[in-house]
């Protein structure tokens, strides 16, 4: 079960970063432009764009360009996928068990 669901992992991996979580939290209130989203962060635009792309690739947000302004919005499909909330919990516990297994089998080798 180590390869649980790649898509789902992508969705939750995107949540692992505080900047991306903040962006999602902002977008949960409604669409916003990149400039507006980047404003609270002390971060160069290219770095910020990496976060935006990751959120887009993992399916959390959609972006569209109108003129020179790129607007981001929440992608409801991903939220629906994340509603498989129990799946998220499962992924967490699978991960824990993977790491425990690795830890004890490595520790065992060291003891021998």
């Amino acid at each position: 079960m180590a390869h649980y669901s790649e898509h789902l992992n992508g969705i939750f991996q995107a949540l692992a970063d505080p900047t991306r979580r903040a962006v999602l939290q902002r977008l949960s209130r409604g669409p916003a432009s990149i400039t507006e989203l980047a404003e609270p962060f002390d971060m160069a635009l290219p770095s910020f764009m990496k976060h935006i792309r990751l959120l887009e690739d993992s399916g959390w947000i959609q972006t569209r360009k109108e003129g020179r302004v790129r607007t981001c919005g929440i992608d409801r499909k991903s939220f629906a996928a994340a509603e498989g909330w129990l799946s998220a919990q499962r992924a967490v516990w699978e991960g824990r068990t993977d790491r425990l297994e690795r830890f004890v089998t490595v520790a065992r080798k060291k003891e021998q």
Partner: protein
């Protein structure tokens, strides 16, 4: 030993055979220094604040993400600790059985001898769906703002 019924809507069950003796797995779980090394995925770091292995004992961990300061992670209470066999904990209660603000889950960890090492199982029971359904009724997007926060706290980085 009480074995609660499995509710597919709220529970998850993980079991596998780990190629290590039961004592080694037990120690990895119950020795804070060892536990800290696997509980959260790298590069996040876990720190055990309290691990009082007895019914009613505190089980409190903190997490540091991206080299930041350690922030609260799990605040739970042990319900049962049977040497080498079983650990039951919940965050519906805090240390000393004090009711928690945001109850969420109970986990039952069991270890059994197996010819290949240790049969390890985790049965995790969550609250009913009712508050999630309420979220949906209150407004899909607004509700999710809160859910993201909760997920962020509970769903860790998956390496």
């Amino acid at each position: 030993m009480l074995s609660p019924a499995f509710d597919p809507a709220c529970d998850l069950q993980i079991s596998r055979v780990i190629k290590a003796p039961r004592r080694t797995v037990w120690r990895a779980w119950t020795d804070p220094a060892r536990f800290e090394q696997w509980w959260v995925p790298a590069p996040a770091k876990c720190r055990v604040q309290e691990m009082d292995l007895r019914p009613g004992g505190a089980f409190i961990t903190r997490i540091s993400e991206q080299g930041g300061e350690f922030v609260p992670h799990l605040n739970a209470c042990f319900l049962a600790v049977d040497d080498l066999e079983r650990i039951v904990f919940t965050n519906t209660l805090l240390a000393g059985w004090r009711p928690a603000e945001q109850p969420f889950m109970t986990a039952i960890i069991t270890l059994q001898d197996h010819e290949g090492g240790t049969h390890y199982a985790a049965h995790v029971m969550h609250k009913t769906r009712s508050d999630r359904d309420m979220h949906a009724k209150m407004g899909f997007i607004d509700g999710w703002g809160t859910v993201i926060g909760q997920l962020a706290a509970q769903v860790e980085r998956l390496s």
